[in-house]
Amino acid sequence: MKCQKCKTNEATYHTSITINGQTTEEHLCAECAIATGKMPHFKTIDVGEFFDSYVDNYKKAKSIPKAIICPGCGMLSTDFLSTGFVGCSMCYKAFENLLQPIIKNVQGRTKHIGKLADKQFNLNSSNSKQEEIDRLNSLLKRAVAEERYEDAAEYKRKIKEINDKN
């Protein structure tokens, strides 16, 4: 069956909507379904290419941010950019600002909605409060030592936020 919109490609996106007994059917190809916003667009990302462009953008930026060190495994954020791998689970928090746009681009979404391991199994989430406070304190000390006062203020704010929640 041909796409109802372009009448050229094979229709692969089929919907049937019934309202008050009236049924309307729509048959579109993938391109038209994405173009009309009916279907989300999954970008095929070659991870290597993405990291290369990310590093290039960093180089073009006026100020290149200093490498962040993960307090869990000692991995540098610059190592992550060149390998595409993080060193441990704590890297996800340590490199949060760096990773967020990458995760958004690679995965298209940023929130897990699958198997709920923390609720089902009472797992030690890497978000456990004390661990998080220890991690932020470690990052705060380093930021102060390196005179990154804006970063230090941000870590201090996050620690206060966690403590206020208790």
Binding site: T12, A30, E31, I34, M39, H41, F42, T44, V47, G72, C73, M75, T83, G84, F85, V86, G87, C88, S89, Y92, L99, I102, I103, V106, Q107, G108, R109, T110, K111, H112, I113, G114, K115, A117, D118, Q120, F121, L123, N124, S125, S126, N127
Partner: protein, 330 residues
């Protein structure tokens, strides 16, 4: 769907919390903590536990050829391990890219069954071990491409018709827009010498496990429909050529003195197509898929019981394949 879907696999990636990921874990903790913890938790299953540094190169390659381990695990042989069920449907790699990569592999179209089995194993690991998990990002993995569910659902498909008529590239492009990848299994790059492709999900975060299975399943069903249509079209105009190609493949496979891996794969694909379409009768069609694995280099050397050079191996392959196919012909 018969004679198109070859096998289905579900893989879950997990890591232990508080320990560096395998590429940064090159010390005694690799076995003393990771391998031991997982082996202990799974001991009631009586699975076979192997530290890869105790396996010979041939043993490792046999496991690779059976799709029970990956090349990356062999590269980390010194610190890696694998735990395998007796029927070889379940295989859990230790210290490959992640601490734990549990997979269930079935022949045919069986994604849901494969998921149920590997999910039970995952439940046991989660109940006994401190697995790395974040309420926002889900299961954490060494590469951000695997976070969230940590799940890769894959199906191996035999697609001779859409390879021959060139429409496989259109299918690849259309699927990539839906978050599904399809790549040739054998051959260089994305080429598919054996007409064999692997279809799997690209995205692991922001979808439930069932949604991933449904998306991959829907893609597989659609590809089956396209392949079946393409086979019917080919049969309208090229039946004689297809029969001839399959018969010639059978002729060479049963009479050659030497068969190298590349030629073997190409001929097996042509023969299998002829068998699928009913032009060549074999007592057992599954024998072809089994033979594709058992005539791989490491399997042959294990069968012969010794390391053999490529030339001698190609001669042994020709003899082995000829014997197996002649026995299977009706």
């Amino acid at each position: 769907m018969d004679n198109i879907v070859v096998s289905s696999r579900i893989r879950l990636a997990r890591n232990l919390h508080g320990i560096p990921y395998p590429h940064k874990l090159k010390d005694e903790r690799a076995y003393a903590v990771v391998m031991k913890s997982v082996a202990d938790v799974l001991s009631p299953f009586n699975y076979k536990v192997y530290a890869t540094n105790t396996l010979s190169d041939i043993d490792c390659d046999v496991l690779l050829e059976k799709h029970l381990i990956s090349k990356d695990l062999i590269l980390n042989k010194e610190y890696g391990g694998v735990i395998i069920s007796e029927d070889e449907t379940v295989s859990i790699m230790i210290n490959e890219e992640d601490h734990i990569r549990a997979q269930c592999l079935f022949s045919g179209f069986n994604l849901q069954k494969a998921y149920e089995i590997v999910n039970k194993i995952d439940d046991i690991l989660l109940s006994k071990l401190s697995i790395s998990y974040d309420s926002e990002l889900g299961f954490l993995t060494a590469c951000p491409t695997n976070i969230g569910t940590g799940m890769r659902a894959s199906v191996m498909m035999f697609l001779p018709a859409i390879t021959m008529n060139g429409t496989v590239n259109n299918v690849i492009n259309a699927l990539s827009k839906l978050g599904i990848t399809i790549r040739g299994v054998y051959g260089e790059g994305s080429s598919a010498d054996g007409y064999m492709y692997q279809v799997s999900n690209q995205i692991s975060l922001g979808l439930t496990e069932q949604e991933i299975i449904k998306n991959v399943s829907n893609a597989v069903l659609k590809i089956c429909e396209i392949e079946e249509n393409a086979r019917r079209e080919l049969l309208k105009h090229q039946t004689d050529d297809i029969i001839d190609s399959a018969c010639r493949a059978y002729g060479i496979l049963t009479n050659a003195y030497k068969l190298d891996s590349n030629e073997f794969m190409k001929l097996m694909a042509k023969l299998k197509f002829g068998v699928c379409l009913g032009f060549i009768k074999l007592s057992n069609v599954d024998i072809l898929d089994k033979l594709i694995i058992s005539a791989q280099p490491a399997h042959l050397m294990q069968l012969k019981g010794e390391l053999i050079q490529p030339n001698e191996r190609d001669i042994f392959r020709a003899e082995y394949v000829a014997g197996m196919l002649k026995n299977a012909k009706i």
